[in-house]
Amino acid sequence: MIEVKKLVKRFGLKTILRGVDFSVEPGEFVALLGPNGSGKTTFLRILASLSRASMGSVNVAGYSLPNESAQVRAKLGVVTHMPLLYPDLTAEENLQFYARMYGITNHQSRITQVLEMVGLEYRRKDLVRTFSRGMQQRLAIGRAVIHDPEVILFDEPYTGLDQDASEMLDDVLRTVTATGRTVVMTSHDLARAEDLATRFDILSRGVITATATQKELKKTNLLTFYKQAMVE
């Protein structure tokens, strides 16, 4: 579903990604872990066609970037720590706007379903600026899946959420991923990553230094694996 080969990203003289090789099978949930500044967000932005690779090849859902970026974007949902929502529009208006941008024709029924999925149907007519951070993040997930994408990218979705909001987001995440979508999530929260993901990749100083599946981790735990990968 995702195939990345020898990906390099430079900003001026600074090299952020130094030849990343990465692939994800359909239906996999990959947690991309690493310290601050390791290049996780840059990597996800390249997958989302928001940034252009300096070198290397990137294929998402059968399309190559940057040449077929519109086709890739149609198959992709992105959730970041920012909700990408307009505070002066209602929840319904926000989803309506994104549905129109994705060319969805039956947007009313789709919006109702998505709002029910993220548990915000009762707030559909309320302005987003009146929502708590956790509610905004749930609506952001609704926005990201409005077009039923095959691949969903989560970039630090738990940032700024309290414990209750994080648990509610867990539920929504499970709901979204239960339908067999391919997911890549960056996170600092090892507990949540361990609970949700089926594979763990460690990105450190611009390269992937270790990979393990959930089965392989049964012998150890994610924290030990992470620490070992960082030492190496």
Binding site: M82, L84, D88, E93, G103, N106, Q113, E167, D170, N221
Partner: protein, 260 residues
Amino acid sequence: MATKSKMIGNRKLKVGGRKSSAFRFPPSAAPRFLAKPTFFKATMAIVQKDLAAEFRSRELLSAMLVFSMLVILIFNFALELDIKVRQSVTAGVLWTTFAFAGTLGLNRSMAVEKDRGCLDGLLLAPVDRSAIFFGKAISNLAFMLIVEAIVLPLYALLYNEVRIFQPAFLGVILLGSIGYIAVGTLLSAMSVQTRTRDVLLPILLFPVAIPVLLASVKASGGLLNNATFAEILTPLNLLIVYDVIFIAVAFMVFDFVVEE
């Protein structure tokens, strides 16, 4: 529902609780798509979204309007001249007001998208990215025209100048506004990526917009001074050419401007 706890390092976290009911969309709720989201529909979606958000918050329009009225008032007191001199500076005063108010609006319009990451939301849509430019440009133009529609009667009242309502004069204002907004929207998409965007936009915009501002002042000044059509033809042509060139340039380069 069962909730279990897990130790990670020295943290005890509740995980696996409230397991999802594995929500599945009924077939009727699956999204149905257009063959391809059309350029026009995406552009109009952005325009409607901008207008709806602005008419609810009134942040941008109120700032532009208050600023414009202050400029008009300041000029009114500063230029305590006889009526003939006042009339001769009409075009200059009006375009100075529109240019500065327009810059305020352009900055705010893009900042709203950038501050909450909504620009990324727009860029993630599977549409030609120049549709985003046109959507933002049309809504910026609408805001500028609303401000102009309020400022012109105020100006006429304060300066006792009713000739500004002649159709040709209004046509020049429309042409000048289109050119100014076209280049301004493109440059604001560039400057909004920087930390010094509030300062950077006027620095970038005014030198590039000099041809459109000069042509607008000359054409509108000529109309107020009863110049013949032949006399204002050159600035009018310049305005039209400028509008066409900058709309075409923005159409071609917007994708590169907004991509990292």
